[in-house]
């Protein structure tokens, strides 16, 4: 199972085993990671699962869709070049080691 590390707003890192095909959001919510709300449950409707993808992973991910890009334009915390919505990050074996950081606010 690929491992994903979620860094909480206070800097605490949580390493999660994620089923391939599942999203980073799903894994982080189920594990009770601090800093993620994910109110809409992964339907790309709320932008409350915003995260920062840590290097070198950003370039290994498929780029955001138009809708994700527009949603990212209005997230509650600062948008950075490595901002993504974690519900759109589908974990695959090639992403073993993926690390994301959650911001201090989502809404």
């Amino acid at each position: 199972m690929p491992r994903v590390t979620c860094i909480e707003p206070d800097g605490h890192a949580r390493a999660l085993s994620v089923d391939a095909g599942s999203s980073v959001m799903r894994a982080a919510v189920a594990a009770g990671v601090d800093g993620i709300e994910a109110q809409c449950g992964g339907l790309l409707a709320c932008a409350t699962c915003h995260c920062y993808v840590q290097p070198p992973w950003l370039d290994k991910l498929p780029p955001p869709s138009d809708d994700e890009n527009l949603m990212l334009g209005n997230v509650a915390a600062e948008r950075r070049p490595n901002s993504r919505l974690s519900c759109q990050l589908i974990v695959e074996p090639a992403l073993d080691g993926l690390t994301v950081q959650f911001p201090d606010r989502q809404s």
């Binding site: 799903r26 994910a38 809409c40 449950g41 809404s107």
Partner: protein
């Protein structure tokens, strides 16, 4: 200090889980018990009427919090536990299995249940409603059977749930008829121009929409076979999905003498009429400052009210006043709604009504009160921030596609910076 009884939360859905976690975030170190009457650990419901109907998966894929995450925060989860009564005088709960649970403070997050049809035939087999994982799985299976047998799915109610089910049933290849009692779709929550857009889309996808339909009875032997309406028509049905709204579950609270009015009455800090009991989520009716009662069935409301409720249990005031928002997925249209359009006197639109990809801006006396966006993600996100900050474009600005809503947000920030 004498060891205290736990804080007990009744209901292990979105609101219940949030109350428990917010208690920890607010620094509460005592025992917390989360009591749920389903057998699944806490899960997210919104996908149940959307993606999940198309591809039901394992329940754990909807997990809201796993056992480990709750244990880490010392939240004791009790599943399959039906609470029979609240004994306020003794500060304890009576469970249906005879057990008693003492509490130092109580939070009610009992949710809502699907409103049932009270008509002849309503208890026939394959008459279904949607609330839980099991309901969603049953509806998904029934739709697939209908698609395979060439029998229609009849949906009673043209609101969010009914229309999401209709869209999913079409995607799965079943014939679909929607029977709506009122003259248009989603009429309680949207302007006619939005209803019309959804009517066109559903019809274009082959859904039969019937308005002003007064269902009189369901017929069948064992399983439902048809739905009859007051105008004498009879609609063949392989299954019937009832989507006529929900009933806030205030039964425990009402029986215990808490003030209820189709929902547990709470103030904007989630406090009930008993100062040691709070309530949050779908089970509540919130008294607004103008005296109106607000019943919101949404994740945002559950989460935000739950944060207020946890704070209130610890003696803090954390009113919830953010603009309410909702969403719905039907076919490839993403409907996002923010604010409450009730009482609007003007609606303007921007975008393409035919596609449809537009937003409807609702004004009252020239001020923006709500926005419905159909596949206009950016309008929604920006409107949400405008409403949260009490900002309003003029109707002319809202209707002008060249006017940037973002500019009002930028100006507001500049104004703050200048004032500081």
């Amino acid at each position: 200090m004498v060891s205290q009884a736990p804080i007990v939360i009744v209901g292990a859905g979105q609101a219940g889980v949030q109350i428990a976690e917010s208690l920890r975030q607010e620094g509460y170190a005592g025992e917390v018990q989360l009591v749920g009457n389903e057998s699944h650990p806490p899960y997210q419901r919104p996908p149940l009427s959307k993606k999940w109907l198309l591809e039901p998966g394992v329940a754990s894929a909807l997990s809201l919090r796993g056992a480990e995450a709750l244990a880490r925060r010392r939240i004791e989860l009790r599943l399959d536990s039906e609470v029979a009564a609240i004994d306020r005088a003794a500060s304890r709960l009576q469970l249906a299995n005879g057990e008693q649970l003492p509490y130092s403070a109580l939070a009610l997050a009992t949710g809502a249940r699907a409103r049932a049809l009270s008509l002849p035939g309503a208890s026939l087999g394959q008459v279904l409603s949607l609330r839980s994982i099991a309901d969603s799985a049953a509806i998904s299976a029934a739709i697939r059977r209908c698609a395979a047998d060439g029998r229609p799915v009849v949906v009673i109610g043209g609101g969010f749930i009914g229309l999401e089910v209709a869209a999913s049933a079409r995607k799965l290849g079943a014939a679909v008829t929607v029977l709506e009692g009122l003259p248009r779709l989603m009429s309680r929550v949207t302007a006619p121009i939005v209803s019309e857009a959804f009517e066109r889309v559903h019809r274009a996808h082959g859904v039969e929409l019937v308005f002003g339909a007064q269902v009189t009875q369901l017929r069948g032997s064992g399983e439902v076979e048809s739905v009859c309406t007051a105008d004498g028509r009879e609609y063949a049905a392989g299954c019937v999905v009832v989507g006529i709204g929900v009933v806030p579950d205030d039964r425990l609270a009402a029986a215990a003498g808490l003030a209820c009015d189709r929902g547990i009455l709470v103030d904007d800090c989630a406090r009930s009429s008993d100062s040691s009991i709070v309530a949050a989520g779908d089970c509540t009716a919130r008294r607004l400052t103008d005296g109106r009662l607000l019943r919101l069935e949404s994740v945002q409301n559950a989460v935000e009210q739950a944060k207020s409720a946890a704070a209130a249990l610890l003696g803090r005031e954390r009113p919830f006043r953010a603009a309410p928002w909702f969403w719905s997925d039907q076919y490839d249209i993403k409907l996002q709604m923010v604010g409450l359009s009730h009482g609007y006197d003007q609606v303007v639109t921007r975008g393409d009504l035919q596609k449809p990809a537009f937003s409807a801006f609702y004004f009252q006396a020239g001020r923006l009160i709500a926005v419905d966006s159909l596949s206009r993600v950016q309008d929604h996100m920006q409107s949400k921030r405008l409403l949260d900050h009490g900002l309003s474009p003029t109707p002319e600005q809202a209707a002008d596609p060249l006017f940037e809503l973002q500019s009002l947000l930028r100006e507001a920030k500049l104004a703050t910076a200048d004032g500081a």
